[in-house]
């Protein structure tokens, strides 16, 4: 089928308004949250599972790769149409189909924005906890496909823990309905879970059944300043060892503190090696408060130079201000950044941060580190400038050194962003060849022609050398026509 024929076939499914094919439109879908850029051949915006299935059948027949896309906020390159293909924009499938109070579940289409779902269920006294930083723009479908996390996941778990059921369109256009409104379900393989975190490589998620919790009525927050990073790490362990499971234990290292202070000018302690933000929630204000005060006391005993406890919601917002400013502060810091997402056993956090600092010095980059201290998920951000000659090669070396340090300490490559294109060449190092081979067999069984999201997740080169330079970089995409 030629391009015109394909456009007509897709328009017959989704209507003229749902096919994007003109040069500028292809450019609009060529980017995501990374520094890559590749043009799709076509983009289609379906509005129902049936339309997605029909689109997949057309693409499969034509042998065109399919790249599913929610809001295109991937931090690993998962939605970049490397080598072209058909981008399936699911943003129009954004209906909350049902909030079922009696069963404590929500049924949503894949394109529902996470924050909108949260607002809707909170209005009913319910709670959907996963809170990726992108929650105001990213979609549930994308969150499921990357198994997104967030600060609250320490206590409440990641997206996976809320997925009870999925509707998935397979590579041959069949529609698979998996699981349902059931908290317990041990009938067959847990197939719905197979698609969680699959990054669009196994099928297109079109609908999701999500578990909801009762909304906690109270929350309280504290902020602790640590002159020494090791003390902050000891405090985290002491808190979790004291029988408290907080909502969040967020860490900012010294460089992050300084980057934020340069931006915010809020009087943050530039000398401190670490800031910890501690939060608890629950239904009984006394119990919530007691937990936060106990956490504050532990911090004080273990070397915090200052501890603040927020007395009200406004105070709470003030304490979170520094953490929320990390993204804008980094955004303004340099031209490009590579936001990594490693995980280490939480006791290894100080050692990991020290190694990152050493790597930064060695390769000449600022690498602020922040993240979720309670679960060992850290975000070292390499700040760089693509325009400088030889820059990307140095970024590669620094990033590889960070990955290897994490693996050495018993950690892994990514906690919540996914592998995408950015980390695929390290997959074998992280998992071992046998696990990668099992993954390949699963992929082959579900998508024998390899149409779903090619060039993602699986290693393509013999080694990691040149793993960023081989990617299609921002500002180099040539439009047709």
């Amino acid at each position: 089928m030629n391009r015109e024929g394909l456009i007509a076939a897709l328009a017959a499914i989704v209507g003229d308004d749902g096919v994007h094919y003109r040069p500028s439109e292809l450019v609009a879908y060529s980017v995501d949250g990374t520094f890559q850029q590749a043009l799709p051949d076509l983009v289609v915006s379906p509005t129902s599972t049936g339309q997605v299935a029909a689109v997949v059948r057309v693409a499969a027949e034509a042998g065109i790769p399919i790249v599913p896309r929610g809001a295109g906020t991937s931090l690993a390159g998962g939605t970049i149409p490397v080598g072209g293909g058909l981008v399936v924009n699911l943003a129009r499938m954004n209906r909350i189909l049902e909030i079922d109070r009696a069963n404590g579940v929500a049924v949503v289409e894949a394109g529902v924005v996470t924050a909108e779902l949260q607002r809707a269920v909170e209005g009913e006294g319910l709670f959907y906890p996963p809170d990726p930083a992108s929650l105001n723009q990213s979609t549930i479908g994308g969150n499921v496909a990357t198994n997104a996390g967030g600060p609250r996941c320490l206590k409440y778990g990641v997206t996976r823990d809320y997925v009870l059921g999925l509707t998935v369109v397979l590579a041959d256009g069949r529609v698979l309905r998996l699981g349902g409104k059931l908290i317990k379900n041990k009938t067959g393989y847990p197939l719905a879970q197979l698609f969680v975190g699959s990054e669009g490589t196994l099928g297109i998620i079109t609908e999701v059944v999500l578990k909801l919790l009762p909304r906690p009525r109270h929350r309280a927050t504290a902020l602790a300043v640590f002159p020494r990073l090791d003390d902050a790490a000891r405090a985290v362990n002491a808190i979790l060892g004291a029988g408290i499971l907080p909502v969040a234990l967020e860490l900012m290292d010294n460089l992050t503190i300084n980057v934020v202070e340069d931006y915010l000018r809020a009087g943050l302690p530039r000398e401190a090696e670490a800031l910890l933000i501690l939060e608890q929630d629950g239904n009984h204000p006394g119990a919530v408060r007691a937990d936060v005060e106990q956490m504050a006391a532990i911090c004080g005993e273990l070397g915090a130079s200052a501890v603040q406890v927020a007395a009200d919601e406004a105070g709470r917002e003030r304490l979170w201000q520094a953490r929320r400013a990390v993204s804008p502060a980094l955004g303004r810091r340099g031209r490009n950044k590579l936001g990594e997402d490693i995980v280490v056993p939480r006791a290894a956090i100080p050692e990991m941060v020290r190694r990152i600092r050493q790597i930064g010095r060695e390769y000449g980059f600022e690498i602020p580190v922040f993240g979720h201290a309670g679960d060992g998920n850290l975000h070292p951000n390499i700040i760089f400038d693509l325009r400088r000659p030889g820059e990307l090669e140095r970024v590669e070396r620094a990033a590889a050194a960070i990955f290897r340090a994490a693996l050495e300490l018993g950690g892994t490559l990514t906690g919540e962003h996914g592998i995408g294109t950015l980390k695929r060449e390290f997959l074998t190092e992280a998992l071992g060849p046998d696990a990668v081979e099992v993954m390949r067999r699963l992929k082959g069984a579900l998508d024998p022609k390899g149409l779903f999201n090619p060039h993602k997740m699986f290693p393509e080169a013999d080694g990691a050398e040149g793993f960023l330079r081989r990617l299609p970089l921002l500002g180099t995409a040539e439009a047709p026509g």
């Binding site: 040069p23 439109e25 450019v27 809001a71 943003a91 723009q137 990213s138």
Partner: protein, 429 residues
Amino acid sequence: MTAGADLRLLREEYDNLSACIRCGLCLSVCPTYQVSFKEEEGPRGRIAMLKALVEGHLGLTPDLVEHELNCLVCEACTAICPAGFRMEPAQVAFRAALPDGVPRAVRFGLEYFLGDLGRLRRLVRLMALGQRAGLAALAAQLDLFGLRRLGRFLPDLPASFIVPRGQVWRPAAGPVRYRVALLTGCVMSTVFAEVTRATVRVLTANGCEVVAAAGQGCCGALHLHSGLLGSARRLIENNVRAFDPDGFDAIVVNSAGCGTALKTYDHFVPGSRAAAIARKTRDITEFLDEIGLVPPPGEVPVVATYQEPCHLAHAQRITAAPRRLLRAIPGLRLVELAESALCCGSAGIYNLTRPAFADALMARKVRQVLATGAQVVVTANPGCYLQLLAGLRAAAGDGRPAVEVRFLVELLDRAYQGAARPVLTEAGR
């Protein structure tokens, strides 16, 4: 395709365009994205397209022009951007590069009527006559200019205008606290002359001596957003001559869009005088909030909701002051409007040039306004006022708005005049 287009200004925006980190947060607030869910109708896509244009990867194709001109320049993306990207200068530079970015009739209207307020006054007087003679006649008359849509947006026109000749209005009693210059503007001195009179009364009730500096004209905001940089510069230079920043404590503006323009005059005209004007410019709501509002004595017993003008909320980042002023009006109950900071689709002359998006946004806004149960929807910008009026008129079906539309300063004026005047017209009750 790129031939004939002068991309020099856009090239100067390359660093601004490169600030985008593609996080997509802007999608959550972009009105055209929120009604289309198309990346090419969102800020991140528009930035990628403009960047590709500058890099030479894209030509100035009709599709690119369409998607860029669909931008309302509401600045919601600029206000939320974590990386400091600014949409307005990028769009102004892009539009300036288009040989025919504005329909000829619109360009004529902007340059002929707003370039010379005497002509504008004659036009509005003609329209007022037409309005009294019946709307059908008016519509026919307007069609002469190819602007049939305009008829939907016309409010009741005043019998007399404000012609700035250096008039001075003084407080009726008490000392003069501040001496301010008032931008009388183009539509604000003609179509909305009564609102500007109310502005003067509110300022004098707050101890201000108000001067309508002679020689001032249109602020040039509409010309800037249409990429008519030459005419915009002439208007800006004229106002820089007319306002002596050293002679006043503030230059007060009662139209959010014009205030935004004045606050950026120094970007378009060099020199310390333009910069001083930019520094001294205050929106009327910002100014009254800053100086401490004299508590109004009269009651205005209405349920009101507030629609934020984009150029107040996003461009000038003024969101708290208007609400504080409304709450200071005795008897007025303020109910929040869902999506109050989402553009209503007016966006200057956008509702005339890009009707599809403008109408979709208007319909969405009308639904939200009606859902509040408010009797009055308050705003602070002529474009928003006209768009809300047109939408609410259409919603009522009988030509009378389903909910009364008012400028914030009109309600303040009522409150200073006491209960002598009826608060609502028949339809608003």
